[in-house]
Amino acid sequence: MPSETVVDLSRLQFALTAMYHFLFVPLTLGLSWLLVIMESAYVMTGKEIYKDMTRFWGKLFGINFAMGIATGITLEFQFGTNWAYYSHYVGDVFGVPLAIEGLMAFFLESTFVGVFFFGWDRLTRVKHLAVTFLVALGSNLSALWILIANGWMNNPVGAEFNYLTMRMELSSIRDVIFNPVAQVKFVHTVAAGYVTAAMFVLGVSSWYMLKGRDLKFAVRSFAIAAGFGLASVLSVIVLGDESGYTTGQVQRVKLAIIEAEWETHPPPAPFTVFGIPNDKTETTDYAIRVPWALGLIATRSVDEEVTGIKDLKKEAEKQVRNGMIAYEALEKLRRGDTNPEVRAAFEETKRDLGYGLLLKRYTPRVVDATPEQIRSAAADTIPKVAPVYWAFRVMVGLGMLLVFAAAFYFVALRKLVPQRWPAPALYDPIAVDRRRVRLVRRRIRPPALDHRGGAPDFPLRFQHRGRRCMVQLDRLRALLQRTACGRVVPHVQVLPLGAE
């Protein structure tokens, strides 16, 4: 057994590299489509300003794409360097989408991205637009295959354990591709990427507006980003809800952790709006609950239960015991035992073999585990509640809808240039002047309120339900990117930016 410190460090390393990679990738996912939109406007209207816009944002796309590549190779290699047994155990299934991603998607985007930058004078307008489109298609297909791989990690369908080769083997590629978790993850994540890109364009355009530079360019970019962002943020909300439903169906532990559901409540389960989860007492302190809400969202019914953490632990105990039977049978089979009873026992329990292997940490022989050790192994299936619970709440409470709705509102009224408020609100994180942001936010609310005729926070909290935890870093990411671009923008010397 490798030492647990090494395992923990490897986990930490994977978390860091994955998050670092994911600072850049969502931006390029969305920015590539914004480039397609801008260049389409150029091809259709023939106005040079749209070409300038495409080149300007293209350059910002380029520097993020480069960082995406630099950080992406690490992620791929890491499976082999740090998670060798995982690579062997699931490579037969998990390697497939990764390899397809390389051949179908990554080749496409990285081969054409060079033509995007250097082909302006060598191709007709329509052909160049086609190249831009292929770059966007490639990067989004890339996300599809990676999320199919990730979806399989969350919900491993279409695979069976083979005791001869000691690994999971592909039984149905169709199940792997049309895995419901993979599908909702894909749409939810790319939509979140589109939001990130729209936020980025909105932020940089606002910076130009505030400085009074290249206004024609900035206003047009702002308008496109506002429309694209509003559509995307609405998609994120709807698809996030879908994702919550799928999680409730196939990943009950994840749902229970996110909601800090310690007990199984009689259906329909109440939703905890606020509370402080306590791992020791296994309760949520100071909980404020809304009756029915969680049951409705997670099961879309009034009579299905949402299983609580305590009951899930009990179920896991049964699975660990099953896993012990599977492990015992596996050892016999590997020693060459051909007794059909052993084989039957193995086939019946092999689904839970992984739960049995959780015991390796406590007893290398697995089969001689004490009830105490079984309880510990079962407890290991439940991660710490508080980090996931709070991360999810931060993600849901970000309130991006408001920003895009307001931005779109002013674009639609053609009041953008005299209306200076959106610009500081978006640009300020670059200056890291929090007090001013807060002041400005207070100023944002009234017009948005008047227009929509309701409290903007209310629908948000509830519509955002179920967004994936990984995406909760959205705001931080957007903020970091804007910070980074604040430094880079002065160096981006693409253009004479327009005639102003």
Binding site: G80, G91, G95, A99, L103, T111, V113, G114, R167, H491
Partner: protein, 380 residues
């Protein structure tokens, strides 16, 4: 086309060879150009000429590496698990060097400061030379076998060290690999640039070609007379699913030449590796630059294929427990996975080649100091 398992295992060995050669030929010249960058370009403009000769296409070329690794994951999971974790330090070193490339290409010319630019030039040189060298070292270790074994649940344990990876034979293979990409990069540059730089690139590739021939010949002698090869004595039917420990393997001097005595036409691969660089040199001296580049590409393919063919059917032999050696027969994925991935490759690889060709046509033409100065803000 539905193939039996044994045939698919063989086909997948060919696919992996193609992907690795694809990377050595395309990514190879990028890395060679990177390694030469600070030595060829004396002024900032000259260096930008060198960078822009490969800048627009290097991303696609590096994808051969990503795809080869992905395909290895899918088709040879045990190899992926064992090689990447066993050669950990070398892989991490390679990764850190590779980090410098995308950032070097994209960020270098966006800031005027000469210190910034010169720093990234050296970054690109490290990003080209170090991976080239470490890939050679890795192949050198594959040829000697690595100390690893499996436990009862097929968990791999590696018992070597970083120092052991850098043994004399592996270092020689590193020199072969580095000389190979420098030569290849030099020949590629000559087809893409104009001005006095061409002469310098020619000189570099001529020297590198000679180093390659000498080092490659030395390596060949070493493999024939020095290091021990591996040979399968007995194993179960290759048409079935086999675990790595089911076969018997012996170590023997000169065993890596077995394949050549069985199939004499295989000598073509080392012949390409030995003669290719010399022919390319002669062609370049006569001004037949495109032909010289393609001959160099054939030489690169010959060198890589030589390593693969000598070891076949071994992929990663184990020096501490030879029976645990990974081969094309027992380190592969299931029949279903190989069959599905066969179709993916058959459909997408020709497509990739087709659009790569189109992209090179569109972005062709010579780069000179004048073109760089005219497009100061657009080019790398």
């Amino acid at each position: 086309m539905i193939f039996d398992y044994e045939t698919l295992k063989l086909i997948w060995w060919v696919f992996m060879e193609i992907l690795v050669i694809g990377f050595a030929v395309t990514g190879g010249f990028d890395m060679g150009v990177g390694a030469l960058l600070p030595f060829l370009g004396r002024t900032d403009e000259e260096r930008r000429v060198v960078i822009n000769a490969v800048g627009p296409t290097w991303e696609g070329n590096q994808t051969w590496l990503i795809t080869a690794a992905g395909a290895c994951f899918a088709a040879w999971p045990l190899v992926y698990a064992t090689a990447f974790s066993g050669f950990y330090t070398v892989i991490v070193l390679t990764l850190f060097a590779l980090f410098l490339r995308p950032v070097g290409f994209d960020y270098r010319s966006k800031v005027e400061d000469p210190r910034w630019r010169s720093a990234w030039d050296w970054g690109l040189a490290v990003g080209g030379a170090v991976p080239a060298f470490t890939f050679g070292v890795t192949f050198g270790n594959l040829l000697q076998g690595a100390p690893f074994h499996f436990d009862e649940v097929l968990r791999v344990t590696y018992t070597g060290s970083f120092g052991a990876l850098l043994n004399p034979f592996a270092l020689l293979c590193g020199v072969v690999s580095l000389a190979m990409v420098v030569m290849h990069g030099g020949f590629y540059l000559q087809t893409r640039i104009e001005g006095p730089l061409v002469l310098r690139a020619e000189k570099a590739s001529q020297v590198a070609a000679l180093v390659l021939v000498v080092a490659f010949a030395l390596g060949g002698l070493w493999v024939a007379l020095g290091i021990e090869g591996y040979r399968i004595i007995s194993m179960p039917d290759p048409g079935g699913a086999i675990a790595p420990l089911a076969k018997t393997v012996e170590r023997a001097p000169g065993a890596w030449l077995d394949n050549y005595s069985r199939f004499e036409w295989l000598w073509l691969a080392p012949a390409f590796g030995l003669m290719g660089p010399l022919v390319a040199n002669a062609l370049a001296r006569r001004g037949l630059l495109n032909l010289a580049f393609w001959t160099s590409a054939a030489a690169v393919s010959g060198v890589v294929a030589t390593a693969g063919l000598s070891m076949f059917p071994f992929i990663l032999p184990s020096s501490s427990q030879p029976n645990a050696s990974l081969t094309v027969w027992d380190a592969v994925s299931s029949h279903a996975t190989l069959q599905i991935m066969f179709w993916v490759v058959v459909v997408f690889l020709p497509l990739v080649l087709a659009y790569t060709r189109w992209v090179y046509r569109v972005l062709g033409g010579k780069v000179s100091v004048e073109t760089v100065m005219e497009n100061k803000h657009q080019m790398y």
